[in-house]
């Protein structure tokens, strides 16, 4: 009786500590959508089934190991088959599995129903950033790693959201069905936010879909889950879920800002303006390969500082940024950056780090180049 009580107490405290652990970032998050909750409960159900089977199986095993020791003079029995027992322990797991397959099938069907969405967002993976297009809303932007490289190199203290912060978060409304369409410009990436229970590969040449209806406003963080090259660890995702009205205001503001920037294409930009904007773009987009000081990482990523071939040939510089380099790591930025950003970053590269070419590239020139 006392042994039984000790075992019972031990079992309960173990189960208790598992419960505590779950609340402290040791377990899959419950998340903030109905589906993420369903997935979490499937996870916990199968987990406890495994624990129960484990207790029985390992219980019998360790009982046998202690009880039937050769050193204690145990004499081996002689049985080596029993058809009834064997049929029973084939059938019981089969029944447990069927019991598990039923709720799993239901949840999976729910996940696959992306119909009747209120908002469609095209998510494009690129080495190593995410691009978000609010389809039909004229709003699109690129979301880059927000953590300064100095923190990664250990020259600065880590920030609170080290590696899980971006320059521009994805903004979505709560209580609306948001459908994500996933594709990629280069290799396979995978867009994953644990609190939303969405993980979907973004595959070049394919469009995958998944969806969320978020219950609570908040900031939810995730990152790329499919090995996509050098900076796979450095393409995080931040989702900012807003109340519906706040989201509508945000979307209208973004649309206005986009059209304002579009107007900026036609005017003449001053060198200072271009340099300032160019540095922002460079820090967000180019720095992971070409480094802050433009030294690059040859041979894969050429240096820009003192790159005489580029400085001598302004058109080639523009071509490289707009169209990328075929067969090399340099992507085409024609659809990722707008003409202002392309003009600014080229101007910056031609004048920063002692390049001092004095050239500037105007957004109007890039717009013309893009319309060719």
């Amino acid at each position: 009786m006392r042994t039984l009580l000790v075992w019972l107490a031990g079992g309960l405290s173990l189960a208790g500590s598992i419960q505590v652990a779950m609340a402290n970032g040791w377990n899959m998050p419950v998340g903030v959508t109905e589906l993420s909750g369903n997935i979490h409960s499937l996870h916990m159900t199968i987990f406890w089934i495994c624990v129960a089977i484990g207790v029985v199986v390992f219980g019998v095993m360790f009982y046998s190991l202690f009880r039937y020791r050769h050193a204690k003079g145990a004499k081996a029995a002689n049985f080596h088959e029993n058809i009834v027992v064997e049929v029973v322990w084939t059938a019981i797991p089969l029944l447990i599995l069927i019991g598990m397959a039923v709720p799993a099938t239901a949840t999976l069907k729910q996940m696959y129903d992306a119909s009747e969405a209120d908002l469609d967002i095209l998510v494009t993976g690129q080495q190593w950033r995410w691009r978000y297009d609010y389809l039909g809303e004229d709003v699109a932007f690129t979301s880059n790693l927000g953590t300064p490289r100095a923190q990664i190199r250990g020259e600065e203290a880590f920030g609170e959201n080290y590696l899980l912060e971006v320059d521009e978060p994805l903004v979505v409304p709560v209580n609306r069905k948001v459908r994500f369409l996933f594709t990629s410009d280069d290799v396979i990436h995978s867009w994953w936010v644990p609190d939303l229970a969405v993980k979907q590969d973004s595959v070049p040449g394919f469009i995958n879909e998944n969806w969320v209806r978020i219950d609570e406003p908040g900031v939810y963080r995730g990152q790329c889950a499919e090995l996509c090259g050098k900076d796979h660890a450095f393409m995080p995702i931040v989702v900012h879920a807003m109340e519906e009205e706040a989201f509508d205001t945000w979307l209208a503001d973004r649309r206005a800002a986009a059209s304002q920037e579009a107007q900026g294409i036609d005017r003449e930009w001053a060198m200072d303006e271009l340099m300032e904007r160019g540095e922002q773009v460079y820090t967000a987009v180019c720095v992971s390969c070409h480094q802050e000081d433009g030294s690059g990482n040859p041979p894969a990523f050429p240096a820009l500082a003192g790159n005489q071939a580029l400085l001598d040939d302004r058109d080639r510089h523009i071509d490289t940024v707009v169209d990328g380099v075929s067969g090399a790591a340099m992507p085409a930025f024609r659809s990722t950056l707008n003409p202002v950003e392309i003009a600014a970053v080229i101007t910056y590269e031609r004048n920063a780090w002692g390049n001092d070419s004095g050239d500037s590239v105007q957004p109007s020139e890039i717009a013309e180049r893009l319309s060719d």
């Binding site: 499937l42 095993m61 499919e226 660890a233």
Partner: protein, 543 residues
């Protein structure tokens, strides 16, 4: 721990007592040439095992680099480019260079001895199969020194990261996989030919030891899937060098096709690495429980069932790649079904222990740890089979924890159990008991410290294959790294035990373990170079 009791008298096979034909070949080359030209299954088995151990340490060093970088957040030791090469090479070397050749080495040594055959059916082919391996892996390792570095796209080498975006050395990587693949296919043909043709008179298929059975089934798996691997890497070769677009979406190709082909090879490959382990454990547990294996026939059927199911589950590696709903359901159900035959095996082992007379020699310790820890890996496998939940588990450290539980305390522990079990037969000496126990306990602690926290870091949101991570994963990674260093260092003890055992130690009789039943224990220890030159008569154990 119990000392090994005196062996019961076993009739020695007549032609083996004097060392068989060894004296009939006085012109045998010596030195290096002897090993290069040998067609003897025991010598080739030894070569395979030494090669495998070497690769185990090289792959292990790569793992240590990975764990050292992940010891704390931030980039300290290596850059992401090199980190990716280390994770990729660690996987490739361990799968193709360490685990698979170790099982082939054990098969070379033990299959002929367990079925009463004088050698493998195709001895020259056997020599060729082995010597392809050092060529393949020298080539593979040399890519690390090439411009642009070695393979950096993960051991699963998904296109187009491994084609359009791969380093120039990828063509060498493809060639090395081709060579290793040919080696595996030839080895498998040899094992099948041996088992089907060279069994002792009177030994029916259903009398074969389970190690022989599991290897027979494994060999068929190898023949079925290695050509698929050869096909897929050839398509990569064409994409890289000859302008085709099998996997290039821009040219009308299909990157997802790569994954279907890879995993059609890759999932049976996973069982190639575990079925022979089942066979080893099924030999060791009855020996040290002094009781016949429970459910021999169901063990054979379960192995066959697992092998057949392994062809129907490949897309469970691809649940988030964008498959249609019916495909997800089909692969989820088939994957869950694998739990049934696997469960049968575990129940059979445990029922063999039940009412046995159990002692804990080193092979038994490793076999028991295998049963417990492989089952834990099986549980996380069952969780991963649940497709909706896999949307959260996929490509996280939860998966890393899962497959390391089935491969390290699974396959690797079974190999070590087999080595400790058969060392007396190979060397004529028992392994050093105390050192072997230290090796066992340090390995068990190290392996769990390394891999158990990975369940938590994965569930909490840490993706696999990243050189740097967010701060909430720091504690888990610290423990994993310390565990990995402990596990890595402990394997030096294994080398010490093996070297000491080859050099000397307590003499082992022919019947090195009191209750061991199979034919290998009827030849002297150490086994002479040639055994069973006239076939033994197989006698079925009385029911």
């Amino acid at each position: 721990m119990a000392t090994n009791p005196a062996p019961k008298p076993v009739p020695q096979h007549a032609s083996t007592a004097a060392g068989g034909l060894a004296e009939a070949h006085p012109e045998r080359p010596s030195g290096l040439l002897r090993w290069l030209l040998t067609t003897n299954h025991k010598e080739i088995g030894t070569l395979y095992l030494i090669f495998s151990l070497t690769m185990f340490f090289i792959g292990g060093v790569f793992a240590m680099v990975v764990r050292a970088e992940l010891f704390q957040p931030g980039l300290q030791l290596v850059q992401p480019e090199f980190f990716n090469q280390m994770t990729t090479m660690h996987g490739l070397i361990m799968v193709f260079g360490a685990v698979m050749p170790a099982f082939v080495g054990l098969a070379n040594w033990m299959v002929p001895l367990q079925i009463g055959a004088p050698d493998m059916a195709l001895p020259r082919l056997n020599n060729f199969s082995f010597w392809l391996l050092p060529v393949a892996f020298t080539l593979l390792l040399s890519t690390l020194l090439m411009p642009g570095g070695g393979p950096n796209f993960g051991w699963t080498f998904y296109a187009p990261l491994s084609t359009t975006y791969a380093p120039p050395s990828t063509t060498f990587f493809i060639l090395s996989l081709h060579i290793a693949g040919i080696s595996s296919i030839l080895g498998a043909i040899n094992i099948i030919a041996t088992i089907l043709n060279l069994r002792a008179p009177g030994m029916r298929m259903m009398d074969m030891p389970l190690f022989v059975w599991t290897w027979l089934i494994t060999a068929f798996l190898l023949i079925a899937v290695m050509p698929v691997l050869a096909g897929v890497v050839t398509m990569m070769l064409m994409d890289i060098n000859f302008g085709t677009s099998f996997f290039n979406a821009a040219g009308g190709g299909d990157p997802v096709l790569f994954q279907h082909l890879f995993w059609f090879f890759g999932h049976p490959e996973v069982y190639i690495m575990i079925l022979p382990a089942f066979g080893i454990v099924s030999a060791i547990i009855p020996t040290f429980a002094r009781k016949r294996l429970f459910g021999y026939a169901s063990m054979v059927y379960a192995t066959a069932a697992i092998a057949i199911l392994s062809f129907l589950v490949w897309a469970h590696h691809m649940f988030v790649v964008g498959l249609p709903l019916v495909a997800e359901l089909f692969f989820m159900y088939c994957t869950m079904l694998i739990a049934v035959p696997t469960g049968v095996k575990v129940f059979n082992w445990i029922t063999t222990l039940f009412r046995g007379s159990i002692s804990f020699e080193p092979p038994m310790l490793f076999a028991l740890a295998f049963v417990v820890l492989f089952t834990i890996g099986g549980f996380s496998g069952l969780m991963l089979a649940i497709a909706p939940a896999d949307f959260q588990y996929h490509d996280t450290y939860f998966v890393v924890a899962h497959f390391h539980y089935v491969l390290v305390p699974g396959a690797v522990f079974a190999i070590m159990a087999g080595v400790y079990y058969w060392l007396p037969k190979w060397t004529g000496h028992y392994p050093h008991e105390r050192l072997a126990q230290w090796h066992f306990w340090l390995s068990v602690v190290g392996v769990n410290l390394t891999f158990f926290p990975m369940h938590f870091s994965g569930l909490a949101g840490m993706p696999r294959r990243i050189p740097d991570y967010a701060l909430q994963f720091a504690d888990f990674n610290l423990v994993s790294s310390l565990g990995a260093f402990l596990f890595g260092a402990s394997q030096l003890l294994f080398v010490a035990v093996v070297v000491l055992c080859v050099r000397g130690g307590r003499q082992a009789p022919a019947q090195a373990w009191e209750h061991a039943e199979d034919l290998e224990w009827s030849v002297p220890s150490p086994a002479p170079l040639h055994t069973f030159e006239t076939p033994p008569t197989f006698e079925r154990p009385a029911h």
